[in-house]
């Protein structure tokens, strides 16, 4: 793989040591190309959350390799010095609940990651407004999160995940609180954004409504990933 995207090779994560050690991830291999949206599916306790935390550089894996774009970020140990900056600049997050900052308006919620990266407020807000327009929520730019509907909040959260143009976005059950129509709309947005910004998106989900829309799916069971071809159904199905 060249350019953006993410590649995981032989990733493992062990909690604890000795007799009480638990191997949450035993063998994870994934490749997500730029502009691609893949599903990550697995039952409770299969290791989905642990994998998401490893991919998000929130916890350190025990072994394996992670390559983000052209940069090896983990190879038996972290290869980047500033993990916080890695999360800020290279990884976007979209959560099950939008988790918008309640005391910032929509524009500043989206503009916050670039502001944290040192981008001037005006420029950060300009980028945020452009994304809000792309996601069709520009009319709520001055609203507070509590004034938005669930779907609007999720779109704002997607905008926040995209605003720093990260090579990869990790979406954790992004459609769980939404009805079918809105869930499919969110997946369509993710696909559109992935193509538009050449971002690799991994969507962790249980949602039966959206699983058929993925062209590729990774199943995870007992800490091991298996690749499967998806149906790739149209979003209005």
């Amino acid at each position: 793989m060249s350019g953006k995207g993410i590649r995981i090779e032989g990733l493992r994560k062990r909690y604890g040591t000795g007799d009480t050690a638990v191997d949450a991830l035993k063998e994870v291999n994934m490749v997500v190309a730029p502009g691609e949206v893949v599903g990550l599916i697995g039952p409770s306790g299969s290791g989905k959350s642990t994998l998401l935390k490893c991919l998000g550089a929130v916890i350190e894996p025990s072994a394996g390799k992670m390559i983000l774009g052209d940069e090896t970020i983990y190879d038996e140990q972290w290869k980047v010095k500033d993990i916080r900056a890695l999360r800020r600049d290279k990884i976007g997050f979209v959560f099950q609940a939008p988790y918008l900052i309640p005391f910032l308006d929509v524009t500043d919620n989206v503009a916050l990651p670039p502001m944290l990266a040192g981008v001037a407020n005006k420029q950060a807000r300009s980028s945020a407004l452009a994304l809000l327009e792309a996601l069709d929520v520009q009319h709520r730019a001055k609203a507070m999160p509590s004034q938005l509907s669930g779907g609007e909040q999720q779109r704002v959260a997607i905008a926040r995940g995209l605003v720093n143009r990260p090579p990869v976005i990790l979406a954790d059950e992004p459609t769980a609180p939404l009805d079918s129509e809105r869930a499919l709309a969110v997946i369509k947005i993710l696909n559109d954004m992935a193509k538009k910004f050449e971002t690799a998106i991994i969507v962790v989900t249980h949602d039966e409504k959206i699983i058929p829309t993925f062209k590729r799916i990774y199943h995870i069971r007992d800490g091991v990933t298996y690749e499967e071809k998806g149906e790739g159904r149209p979003f209005d199905a």
């Binding site: 959350s49 998401l52 929130v58 800020r88 988790y99 309640p102 005391f103 910032l104 507070m144």
Partner: protein
């Protein structure tokens, strides 16, 4: 970078304003307590200033006339007046009592002043209304805090006095307003017994074989007469001539008159260091308690506000917010709470002080010191909340 603390405060301003208001009342009480102490010190200095004295001559080995009782003969002033360096002397008596005014009592310090004219030690140095005492008996000059008006009649012991003048900020070291009356009246008021007690004393003298001697009939009469007079005053106030050292003159009076003499510095030490020492310790203790309570309130509020934002803090960390940005946000909120509290406290103290039953002197420098103390307390109080915030794992934002 936008101010996260400012945005959070604006978003939940009601919580901050109400908490700041509560904290402000506490800070207001603290400022008033400090003002009460300053007022006590000022009262003590005002008492010394208003006496117009450079030296206080009192009973030997006493801390009189304000901190301890002192009694010296009322003719001692003649000898002192003739000593080198002495410009003016005057007898004075002090007596704190309830003065009757109509159907109410006013706690006052009665000061007996020697006959003379304004400028004599012990006399009220200025009046705001009326005139000074000109008659030898039954006239009074009262501080306006007593509530008396010109022409009012007040009762001290059995005698009634007419208020002929009013003065301002003439108070005892306890803050009681002063009433000036002629010295002879004050001596009588200080030592006057009621008629039954006088009769009883005469009966006892008559029955005593020591005083009732058949061969010396004048002795009993002389004794009874002497017991009806009060030849004592509490102190002799001395003004010294220009060019003389107060300490040297004091030493000279002590040596020749066998009395104790205090200079202005000695008196300040006695009044501030001894007379109000216990009160100042009590106020100091209250200030410490109030500071601890304020710190506990700020710490609790900031900690509670922080715990209410755990998920947001986890998200902020996950998207790359530095620990120092999060710590700064909490710190700024704590300081903002303190500033709101201080403003409310300062306003409430300023408007509340005049209604306080004791003189409250709000010094600008105390307010400045109070402001910095509040800021420091808020900074220290935010440490617990900052520690809690820094412990938040960004993984908490990720499901599972």
């Amino acid at each position: 970078m936008i101010s996260l603390a400012g945005r959070d405060i604006m978003h939940s301003w009601g919580k901050f304003v109400f908490t700041g208001f509560g904290l402000g009342l506490l800070i207001g009480v603290t400022l008033i307590m400090a003002g009460v102490y300053r007022g006590m010190v000022d009262d003590a200095k005002v008492l010394l200033d208003n006496s117009s004295a450079d030296l206080w001559v009192v009973q030997k080995n006493t801390l009189g006339p304000y901190a301890e009782s002192s009694s010296i003969y009322d003719d001692e002033w003649r000898g002192i007046q003739s000593m080198p360096g002495v410009a003016q002397t005057a007898n004075v008596t002090y007596l704190t009592m309830q003065v009757r005014h109509g159907d109410r009592d006013v706690r006052s310090m009665i000061s007996g002043i020697a006959a003379g004219q304004p400028g004599l030690p012990g006399w009220p140095p200025y009046l705001i209304e009326g005139r000074q005492i000109t008659r030898g008996h039954y006239e009074a000059v009262a501080d306006q805090a007593t509530g008396f008006k010109i022409g009012d009649s007040l009762q001290i012991r059995r005698n009634k006095y007419t208020v002929v003048g009013l003065t301002r900020r003439m108070v005892s070291s306890n803050g009681d307003p002063m009433v000036f009356i002629p010295l002879k009246d004050a001596q009588e008021a200080q030592f006057l017994k009621d008629n039954d007690a006088i009769l009883e004393q005469r009966r006892r003298n008559q029955q005593s074989p020591e005083f009732s001697q058949p061969g010396n009939p004048g002795l009993l009469e002389a004794l009874n007469r002497s017991q009806n007079n009060n030849p004592y005053v509490n102190s002799v106030l001395v003004q010294i001539k220009k060019g003389y050292s107060a300490k040297e003159v004091a030493k000279s009076i002590e040596k020749w008159k066998r009395l104790t003499v205090y200079t202005r510095e000695d008196m300040e030490e006695i009044l501030i260091g001894k007379l109000i020492a216990t009160s100042s310790k009590q106020i100091g203790m209250f200030l410490v308690i109030l500071a601890v309570v304020s710190a506990a309130i700020v710490a609790f509020i900031i900690y509670t506000l922080t715990l209410g934002k755990i998920r947001e803090i986890a998200v902020l960390k996950l998207i790359g917010t530095r620990n120092r940005t999060i710590a700064g946000m909490i710190l700024q909120q704590a300081i903002a709470l303190g500033v709101i509290g201080f403003v409310v406290g300062k306003i409430s103290a300023t408007f509340g002080a005049p209604t306080f039953p004791k003189y409250v002197l709000l010094e600008p420098m105390d307010s400045v010191a109070g402001f910095f103390a509040v800021v420091i307390i808020c900074v220290l109080s935010s440490v617990i909340a900052i520690r809690a915030a820094l412990k938040v794992d960004p993984a908490e934002a990720v499901g599972g």
